[in-house]
């Protein structure tokens, strides 16, 4: 059952081949069997089965197509009545009293919450090692990281512990783990998916999106997730098209831009080779390759490591032990309560970023850091505008290398940050981007191909990914050892 695509599962539910309860049961059992991957923070069997039973009762010809499909959600989305930890100790006891808009939308079409997936604490990390609830292991090799921050979701989909999952992407947190785990990940355009109820990391960069086995499945999920939300002032007031309807168009004449800067120094040879192979597939489909320039893209990491921590330092101020979440047990006075609560509640990486952000915004440094980074942000966004004058989509590697070993970079924040060098600029510009499984390196670890689209051009982006997956079967490969 777990080898079926979403479309096949929809068909199976509709034809009565299996019920939503049987389907949920099947996946719950798999999650239990592969608990060593640590892909989930919370699995509430009773709640999941109750939702599945309700879906079975609703099932009829009129029920929405995804009725009864189990979906795993990154533990950053508030789900009413469920623990929502965001990978942090400070929210270790936080039962959300409301549903995020994304969760509400999934509930409205009848899907079942399979569980809350593990993640880097407050989505700050590229390896899932910053989670208070322990690292997630890569299903392709448990000694390696799954990527992050949506590592739990990516690992769950890769190991077929969930038919599909949600993630969020602030600097690559959907695409990078999707690449490391050999699954499909889409970061939608900024403003496409509501951020309401998604615990904020860096508000001007965060965006929720699907992590799935295939592009076709991603389109199905995006159809649910996308759309205007009056509760989010950055949600774009525009009806989302039907993304599944856009799949299957011819690619002849498609102009694919190859940013010179994405194929330079620092790129692993195997990754480079795999991406070149993928490009040949596109050429075979009638696409043309064009060299383009993103001259400021190398500065995206420094730019990002000012903006994201600055916003985060402010966003995370609400975790003060007053209204919800962890509060230190012993304290002398108010200041001491704040200090102890936050120092106990946050992990090392989160504290580092809060400190950096606080410093960057502090009196005397604001112009040199924050304003400078915002100016650079414009240059980076302008680079994309110019590149898209010459092409329809951009392609390159999702990451400079494949998955690395647990612990390999956890002591060197800067080395860790550089992992996101190809993904970050997309967030700075607010563009949509896809990571597709494109092959394996010599160690058998998956390689991701990144496809970047024009703003709000997800339909084309998904079609471009879909056509590739019709020609290749990388996305159907399952990790050895995961039966």
């Amino acid at each position: 059952m777990h080898t079926k695509s979403l479309t096949q599962l929809v068909e199976g539910l509709r034809s009565g081949e299996f019920s939503a309860v049987e389907l949920a049961q099947w996946y719950l059992d798999r999650i239990e069997r592969h608990a060593n991957l640590n892909a989930f923070i919370t699995v509430d069997r009773e709640l999941t089965l109750a939702q599945a039973r309700a879906a079975d009762q609703r099932a009829s010809q009129d029920a929405p197509p995804l009725n009864g499909i189990p979906v795993a959600h990154k533990d950053i989305f508030c789900a009413e009545g469920m623990l929502t930890t965001c990978g942090s100790r400070i929210l270790g006891n936080f039962t959300a009293p409301y549903d995020a808009t994304v969760i509400e939308r999934f509930k409205a079409v009848g899907t079942v919450i399979l569980g809350k997936t593990n993640m880097d604490e407050f989505a700050m990390g590229s390896s899932n090692e910053t989670s208070y609830y322990g690292p997630v292991r890569n299903p392709w090799n448990p000694e390696l990281v799954p990527g992050g921050s949506s590592g739990g979701s990516a690992a769950a989909v890769a190991a077929r512990l969930a038919p599909a999952a949600t993630g969020t992407d602030t600097g690559g947190s959907i695409r990078q783990p999707a690449a490391f785990c050999g699954v499909t990940g889409l970061k939608p355009s900024y403003g496409r998916v509501s951020r309401y109820g998604m615990v904020a990391f860096a508000s001007s960069l965060d965006q929720g999106g699907p992590i799935t086995r295939s592009v076709a499945d991603a389109a199905l999920l995006l159809d649910v997730m996308a759309g205007f939300d009056p509760r989010d002032s950055t949600s774009v007031e525009q009806e989302a098209p039907e993304f599944t309807a856009a799949l299957g168009q011819e690619l002849s004449g498609l102009r694919i831009g190859l940013p010179r800067q994405y194929f330079g120094e620092g790129l692993d040879a195997a990754v480079q080779e795999t991406v070149r192979e993928a490009l040949k597939v596109y050429e075979g489909l009638g696409a043309k390759l064009v060299d383009v320039d993103l001259p400021n893209s190398e500065l995206c990491v420094p730019c990002y490591y000012v903006l994201a921590p600055s916003e985060a330092s402010s966003n995370l101020s609400r975790f003060d032990g007053v209204r919800y979440g962890h509060r230190a047990e012993h304290y002398d006075d108010l200041m001491d309560m704040y200090m102890r609560t936050r120092s106990e509640g946050f992990g090392a990486e989160v504290k580092r970023r809060i400190m950096i952000g606080t410093y960057a915004l502090s009196a005397g440094y604001y112009d040199a850091y924050y304003v400078k980074a915002q100016k650079l942000r414009r240059l980076i966004a302008d680079d994309f505008d110019r590149a898209f004058e010459q092409c329809d989509v951009l392609m390159g590697p999702t990451t400079p290398s494949t998955a690395f070993a647990l612990g390999a970079k956890s002591d060197d924040p800067v080395a860790m940050y550089l992992n996101d060098i190809y993904t970050i600029s997309v967030n700075l510009a607010g563009l949509p981007a896809l990571s597709l499984p494109a092959g394996f390196d010599a160690r058998g670890m998956p390689v991701g191909l990144q496809v970047i689209g024009r703003y709000f051009d997800e339909s084309r982006l998904l079609n471009v990914g879909y056509r590739y997956q019709q020609e290749t079967d990388w996305h159907d490969r399952m990790p050895a050892g995961i039966e």
């Binding site: 989305f77 309401y196 950055t234 916003e311 330092s313 402010s314 003060d320 606080t358 915004l361």
Partner: protein, 477 residues
């Protein structure tokens, strides 16, 4: 040495919107704690702010009323600091680009009108309240007020005395109530004032070091706090000391200001544009629509009252001090045939007296403008005398109906039939031989006694003018 006082004011005006500035929670004063604080107000993880259009309209309305530049593009910023009544750990405010730019207000001073510059006015959200009653040594936090829209109005340091500061505050207070953007209730904190006060030797150009006085929530306290602070600063300098730039709290009980240095420790607000709120861009059309809703402003109205209704400066000022009173006056004048001056006197005198006594607002006075107009008409057409009118007014206040009904029911109609009056006078005179004698021998005051007798006999209803005439004719005959 002669010292000059320099004062600038920062006034926080709570805007009269139904819902909060960034959430759909209601705003009501005095509710059960934390019952009007929604997910956004208590800053649950993941919630987001959405701006209330009415708050923007009200800010623009104020800006237009003080001839200010409206910044068609303004930015919401985060002011970061930790405090238990600030749930997000930052306050959404405006910093670099406020919605209202430079404008001005005119105030009356003993030496004539004075121009007070307004630097800016910006929108922001209010914080909650810390209740310091003892909860086993803990402080209680009520977030009902969190997210209430505030307009912070910052003046130029243009005031030179505590009296000028009070005059400015009163003008501002009248204005915001006129515009209908605030109830201006100082006890409930809808109108709060901080004062920046400094002194300098008369004639010196540079400003002295200023102290910021917080928590002065009545006109009287503003005056006293500033006067105290000026005295403190002058004494300090004359004793060879220096004024320190700091925040000081006014204590009305002890009548002193004291330093709040503890609160200022390491303040660094780390303002930056709120990434949850893109720039607020208002169209020309939006601003024009607001302009069309502007009422006649108090100063213009006062001048019009003086010229159109022939009222004195003080009467016109009193009647226009708040919009409801001015509206009441105009409504009464419009429907009454009597003189505007009579109407003004009744409002400033009788009506205000009753309102004060019962601590009521003119808007819910039991005597409406129409009812007062009806009463004045009966005075005007001599149906009743001014004295009887007071009795009728009291009856109207007590809900006995309008003037005509009361006059009818109580038989208060004035006797204007000269035949009837004459026969009553004859009766009185027949029994007053002694008084007639006295009058004729030159004791004029007896005349008053006789008029009184007639009025007594008619229970005050005889037309006093006719009584005078007929009596005089008979006695002098």
């Amino acid at each position: 040495m002669a010292w000059e006082t320099v004062i600038g004011l920062e006034v926080h005006v709570q805007l009269l919107t139904r819902s909060k500035i960034f959430s759909g929670a209601p705003i009501r004063y005095g509710g059960e704690p934390n019952t009007q604080a929604c997910a956004v107000d208590i800053a649950l993880p993941g919630v987001l702010p959405v701006m209330n259009v009415e708050a923007a309209r009200m800010a623009v309305k104020f800006g237009l009323a003080v001839d200010a530049n409206i910044n068609r593009r303004s930015i919401f910023a985060r002011k970061n600091y930790f405090y238990p009544d600030l749930p997000k750990g930052y306050q959404i405010s405006q910093f670099e680009l406020p919605i209202v730019g430079a404008g001005h207000l005119m105030i009356d001073t003993p030496s004539g009108e004075k121009h007070i510059g307004i630097t800016r006015a910006h929108l922001e959200e209010d914080a909650g309240k810390s209740l310091h009653e003892d909860f086993h040594g803990m402080t209680g936090i009520d977030l009902n007020r969190a997210g209430t829209p505030l307009l912070e109005i910052v003046s130029e340091p243009d005031m030179r005395s505590a009296q000028e500061a009070v005059a400015y505050l009163k003008r501002l207070h009248t204005l915001v109530r006129y515009l209908g953007i605030s109830d201006g209730n100082m006890q409930e904190g809808s109108f709060r004032c901080d004062a920046n006060v400094s002194v300098r030797p008369a004639g010196q150009q540079e400003y002295g070091t200023r102290a910021e006085l917080k928590n002065i929530n009545s006109f009287r306290f503003v005056e006293r706090a500033i006067e105290f602070e000026v005295e403190r600063q002058v004494e300090r300098i004359e004793d060879g000391g220096e004024v320190v730039q700091e925040t000081r709290l006014y204590d009305p009980n002890k009548h002193e200001t004291r330093s709040m240095r503890s609160k200022e420790e390491a303040h660094d607000y780390r303002y930056f544009p709120d990434p949850d709120l893109p720039p607020m861009v208002l169209s020309e059309e939006f601003v024009e629509q607001v302009r069309a809703t502007l009422p006649e402003l108090p100063q213009a109205r006062q001048q019009r009252f003086e010229s159109d209704y022939d009222l004195g400066h003080d009467d016109a000022a009193q009647l226009t001090a708040d919009r409801d009173t001015a509206d009441y006056f105009e409504a009464a004048v419009k429907t009454s045939a009597g003189e505007a001056k009579t109407t003004a006197n009744w409002i400033i005198g009788e009506l205000s007296g009753y309102l004060n006594e019962e601590n009521r607002e003119i808007a819910d006075a039991p005597v409406s403008a129409d009812m007062l107009a009806g009463l004045i008409d009966r005075i005007h057409d001599n149906t009743i005398s001014g004295k009887i009118a007071k009795e009728v007014f009291k009856a109207m206040w007590q809900g006995e109906g309008d003037a005509d009904a009361i006059i009818e029911a109580r038989g208060l109609k004035q006797i204007s039939d000269s035949g009837a009056i004459e026969s009553i006078i004859d009766e009185i005179l027949a029994g007053s031989a002694a008084q007639i004698e006295q009058y004729r021998s030159g004791q004029q005051k007896v005349f008053g006694y006789l008029v009184g007798q007639v009025m007594k006999a008619t229970k005050g209803k005889a037309n006093p003018q006719q009584v005078n005439e007929i009596l005089r004719k008979k006695l002098d005959g």
